[in-house]
């Protein structure tokens, strides 16, 4: 699904990612953990194609296709989805309208006609029920005045609507109370299949109790310094990150 080789990236000439290697296969869930400033969000943004980040070396392959030069919307059309840590507000644009535009733009890129309205409606109904989203919520302006929990739930709703191949959840647990966390995690779990993959970026273990990863990677100073199974997350929860730093610096 996703293969990252020796990825280097910088922002304003400051090197942030310094040689990332990562392979994510279909059906897998990978967790990326690490202390603040280790490059977790940068990695998410670079995979999604944010222009402020300059890839200085390496390559990103999606289903064996090099996407280094692709615009963010093309990557989205190919099935990359990023659940933002800080979802942006767009006043006056309803969640429904936004989703309709996103879905139809993606279909257009694939040479498909617009999704018929009744089909769209059915899909909206199904996915909003799955995520326990009040229908009234869908007519509100995108993220405007949403609580932290609503914003994150809306991100997962969009993920459900767009049915990506690769979903990257960037700190989706931040700002969520325990109930919202459960709903969001359940949503993600329901969306998991053998054909898609999920990368969970998180600072804490608690989300991983709900979305159980197949692999856990520790990112430190722009490199993956340790990989393991889900038990690695527990170890980090107990011991913090200092021992990793010591290991690296030793």
């Amino acid at each position: 699904m996703l293969k990252i080789n020796n990825l280097h990236a910088s922002v304003e000439d400051k090197a942030i990612l310094r040689g990332i290697n990562l392979e994510v296969k279909a059906g897998e869930v990978h967790a990326i953990m690490g202390p603040n400033g280790s490059g977790k969000s940068t990695l998410a943004s670079v995979i999604a194609g944010k222009e402020e980040y300059e890839m200085t070396d390496g390559e990103i392959l999606l289903e064996n296709e090099n996407i280094n030069e692709m615009a963010p919307e093309e990557r989205a059309h190919k099935g990359i989805f990023l659940s933002f840590q800080y979802p942006i507000e767009i006043p006056g644009v309803s969640v429904t309208n936004f989703m309709k535009t996103a879905i139809n733009e993606t279909r257009k890129a694939k040479g498909l006609p617009d999704m018929p309205a009744n089909e769209m409606l059915k899909m909206i109904r199904e996915k909003s029920e799955m995520l326990e989203i009040d229908r009234k919520f869908l007519s509100r302006s995108l993220n405007e005045g949403f609580s932290g929990g609503e914003k994150k739930r809306n991100e997962i709703f969009q993920m459900a609507m767009l049915e990506p191949k690769l979903a990257i959840l960037d700190e989706t647990d931040s700002g969520l109370d325990i109930d919202a966390l459960r709903i969001v995690a359940n949503g993600v779990n329901k969306l998991r299949s053998k054909d898609n993959a999920v990368i969970v970026i998180t600072h804490y273990q608690r989300l991983l109790d709900h979305i159980v990863p197949d692999f856990v990677h520790v990112l430190f100073e722009g490199r993956i310094v340790k990989s393991g199974g889900k038990e690695l997350a527990h170890e980090l929860e107990e011991k913090g990150y200092d021992w990793i730093k010591e290991e690296v610096n030793a």
Partner: protein, 482 residues
Amino acid sequence: MTKYTEDDLREELKTKEYEYGFYTDIESDTFPIGLNEDVVRAISLKKEEPEWMTDWRLEAFRAWEEMIEPEWANVNYVKPDFQSISYYSAPNTKPKYDSLDEVDPELLETFKKLGISLDEQKALAGVAMDVVIDSVSVATTFKKTLNEKGIIFCSMSEAIKEHPELVRKHIGTVVPQKDNFYAALNSAVFSDGSFCYIPKGVRCPMELSTYFRINQANTGQFERTLVIADEGSYVSYLEGCTAPSRDENQLHAAVVELIAMDDAEIKYSTVQNWFPGNSEGKGGVFNFVTKRGLCEKNAKISWTQVETGSAITWKYPSCILKGDNSVGEFYSIAVTNNYQQADTGTKMIHLGKNTKSTIISKGISAGKSQNSYRGLVQISARAENARNFSQCDSLLMGNDCGAHTFPYIEVKNKSSIIEHEATTSKIGEDQIFYCNQRGIDTEKAIALIVNGFSKEVLNKLPMEFAVEAQKLLEISLEGSVG
């Protein structure tokens, strides 16, 4: 409507040239350039006007000669040389037609390019059109239906001939000849325009619509529109504009007068898409318009405008709330891109008791453009319990454009309540990246954000106009980011 906006739009976004930049060669009857009393007389003669009309024009002309062009607006331009403009141009194909088959095929072709073919218009939504091409009406549809209700909807020239008593009684009562420099000029030389009268208690069954075009090189367009809604009547009037692209500046100085008698309501919607000049700021229409409505008791006037075109816009659709309990509304979207300059807003003059006004202004600036809102809310001493709410929002794209707000508030009655809200925001890279990440490209993302920003005003437009307006917003902002 979704199909049209979503799909066709995308296609259109690909074209970078001004979409309606073509020129139709219709043989015209054009006056030599220059302006003096003889020209004014000649226009009047050409139009076979009665003497009172000729005198009225002359009176305006004499006043205009004494006036100087206003300079207070926040716009910079080289003033037009009023002696180098031709003041009359009429298509030779003058007689009116009963069916479209008789209309000059080239003209029909023009409409096709505009995407507003009469054929379609006739079939669609029941829109009757009084088409103004180069100042003389050449086609009027749906007239019969209107006739049955006693509604008069015709060109101004026809109204002067057929309904002189109505014209004579009302013309200049809301915008006097000497009101301002451009209104005086218009009064002297107006070539044609639209006239509309809704009888007492009649609700006009369809949207009345006029498409303006400036077609002939170097002929200033001086439209004169008069809408009279008699007691208890209702009318919704649409005015849409496109113009061919041209190198020289084109002058447009229109006057629109609305009269809403007791308990009447007028909705006046405009989509203005005149040539804004090219990306270097060359060419473009100068749009100096005086629009004003008078509300009698319990009457209501709503102005809704979507201004995307013109190099210079100077326009303040206003309401005189003379009657008690009358209501004035102004909903505006003004888009400026490249080197466009807009100074637009409204005046709400509260004279009667319990009068109410609402102002919602959305300014969108991109490129190197300057966009100003200028609005006056005036509460007279007699206007007990007057109420105003104003909201002015500006959206900026890029770092080289400007948004300005000039609110004027004059209150002479303590019982009034006035509110003014203003915001300024900028389309951010984060917003665009968010859309990109969801598969929406940058042009489409901007369109989405801009439409969201303008939603409150777009919602006020009649459905068929809202589609066109949305389309125009997107075309106007093409290539403004990245």
